[in-house]
């Protein structure tokens, strides 16, 4: 019988473990309680000697065992080498559940290995639970977020990917005494069929500020023009907040893609979310509904955004927001 929850610790190009890993480990702790405290394990794949610098994080978040696969050939992520390294490790670990961050790398790697493992894989989950029979119940939005589906797996290994920001990272009160197990991957005979020719880093490779913001002021198509978004920035400055946008606003060129909140963008959970000129398409709602308090300003009282907020203000954003700025 397979045992334990394995969480993939993705080392990104800036050489730190993706924050989603710590969020997933924290959620795995809850799942473990419903599975007779099954062990929480991590898998890290990287260049030789690199994993040690992350040990403190593993211990703080209560990881029981870390499986380390290090090799010169694993300095940069390439699908086939990493998939082989992960599969070699998984065949030794034999976990019952594998959780992977729904990052570019995670969503490249997860289906590749699930396909070989004949494992059920549920993408981009927003809720994880354990059924009475001890199975992973993974809930995800489908049909552009209009429908939620809870998915179970018949396979021995059950896999899920989860986006950053869905779960909250929670450190343990006392660090774990973590066990480290080194695994040698069988990749010597392999040769790389995909070569990285170049990589141009985005200027802002820091963790997106929206993910840590206490307050977010977000604009939709109703903000109409760059002046509208300028106004949101003024409001955000007053509140010490960050500015976000809907897909519609991004598609209109009012805001960059990095500011997009929703199913195809970021999932955020600030204390206060102020939705301005946002109609409330479900695909946006799934990315912000975990905010503590949601304020919505919209001219149309029938707008769906008012079904997903705590405080509604019916009015023209171009009148309401300047007045609000003056009041703060």
């Amino acid at each position: 019988m397979n045992k334990g929850i394995l969480v993939y610790a993705e080392v990104n190009k800036s050489n730190y473990v993706q924050p989603v890993f710590f969020e997933l480990v924290s959620e795995a702790q809850k799942l473990s309680q419903k599975l007779d405290n099954t062990p929480i394990m991590a898998l890290i794949i990287t260049k030789p000697g690199n994993s040690k610098k992350f040990n403190e994080g593993f211990e703080k978040f209560g990881v029981d065992k870390v499986f380390v696969v290090e090799d010169d050939k694993l300095e940069n992520y390439t699908t086939e080498f990493y998939a082989k390294a992960a599969l070699d490790a998984i065949s030794k670990i034999k976990p019952e559940i594998i959780l992977i961050g729904a990052t570019n790398q995670g969503r490249d790697l997860a289906p590749r290995i699930a396909s070989v493992l004949h494992a059920g894989l549920t993408a981009d989950c927003i809720e994880l639970d354990i059924t009475e029979n001890g199975k992973l119940a993974a809930t995800r939005p489908t049909f552009g977020g209009q429908l939620m589906a809870t998915i179970l797996s018949k396979s021995e290994i059950q896999m899920a990917t989860v986006r950053q920001g869905v779960f909250k990272p929670m450190e343990k009160d006392t660090p774990k005494i973590t066990e480290y197990i080194y695994i040698k991957p069988e990749i010597y005979g392999m040769y790389e069929r995909v070569k990285i020719l170049n990589f141009i880093k985005n200027i802002d490779i820091e963790r997106n500020k929206l993910l840590d913001a206490k307050i977010i002021v977000a604009g939709g198509k109703g903000m109409k023009n760059p002046q509208g978004f300028g106004m949101l920035q003024t409001l955000a400055d007053k509140l010490n907040a960050e500015v976000g946008a809907t897909r519609g606003a991004v598609e209109m060129g009012l805001a960059p893609q990095s500011m997009q909140i929703g199913q195809t963008g970021l999932t955020v959970s600030p204390k206060i979310y102020i939705a301005c000129g946002i109609s409330g398409a479900i695909q946006h709602i799934v990315g912000m509904q975990n905010s503590d308090k949601i304020f919505a300003i919209n001219i149309d009282k029938e707008s769906p955004i008012f079904e997903h907020c705590d405080y509604g203000i019916v009015g023209d954003v171009f009148e309401v927001i300047p007045r609000l700025i003056n009041m703060l």
Partner: protein, 258 residues
């Protein structure tokens, strides 16, 4: 050079209606080619325009009506269409779908050089079928591709758009590429294309053609299943307030963490 483009016909998710039982009203739902797959077709056509002797076969799995999507692809300039169509394929998850498609490719199109898929489908949004096909065929994959920079029978060079930046990679063929939406308007079918599409015959492959067992496909062959589907639970309840009350309501929250 032989290119296979995998496309999916999806319901137009911008126009979802609900039944009384909170299930999606599928009758009368407009079907379209998955918007990401349109760009997969575009990238294949770009290669066809710049190189000689390129043929593009479009492959789909779905009900009979998916032939419309394949004909549209032909109207856009693809050479021929193949539909994997069998009642036993129904209910397939990404694992079973990729098994079905890869088996068809292995038996009928093993001379392919390049497979192009859309990165996501707008209905399921899993981004899993492409990499899963690549795994089953044991070929390299390049996901999150914004643009195919160049390709011939031996390699493909592609620019990937990732969270941390832009990466350009080169893969030895045969390989599979997953395409993001492009920043351009996709082309429209030409009159000649439409005529060609009307006269074209879509090849249909059934379960017995692709040499798989009934329990390897469809719902039976899927390691996952939907245990329940429901409308999103609303997490907030709206109280309408006046503009003048906003600052106090904000302070109520900020006082809790400051």
């Amino acid at each position: 050079m032989k290119i296979l483009v995998c496309i999916k016909q999806v319901p137009d998710t911008t126009d979802i209606r609900w039944t009384e039982n909170n299930t999606i009203q599928r009758d009368g739902l407009e079907s379209v080619i998955n918007p990401f797959d349109i760009y997969a077709i575009e990238e294949a056509l770009k290669i066809k325009k710049t190189r000689k002797n390129v043929t593009i076969t479009v492959l789909s799995m779905g009900p009979n009506q998916a032939t419309e999507a394949l004909k549209k692809a032909i109207a856009l300039g693809c050479d021929d269409g193949v539909l994997l169509c069998d009642k036993k394929f129904a209910g397939a998850d990404t694992y079973a779908t990729s098994k079905t498609i890869s088996s068809a490719i292995r038996h009928y199109f093993s001379d392919f050089n390049l497979i192009i898929c859309g990165q996501f489908a707008t209905d399921g949004d899993t981004a899993q079928t492409g990499p899963s096909i690549a795994a089953k065929l044991d070929i390299p994959q390049i996901t999150y591709v914004k643009e195919i920079v160049d390709s011939n029978e031996f390699y493909v060079t592609a620019r990937r758009e990732l969270e941390e930046g832009m990466e350009t990679v080169q893969a030895k063929l045969p390989a599979l590429v997953c395409i993001l939406k492009g920043d351009y308007e996709p082309s429209r079918p030409t009159i000649n294309g439409i005529k060609r599409a009307q006269n074209s015959k879509i090849r249909i492959l059934t379960l017995s053609d692709i040499l798989l067992d009934p329990d390897e496909v469809g719902l039976k062959g899927s390691p996952t299943y939907v245990s329940k589907a429901f409308r999103m639970i609303k997490k907030h309840r709206c109280e309408f307030i006046d503009l003048k009350d906003i600052p106090a309501k904000i302070r109520e929250v900020t006082n809790t963490y400051e």
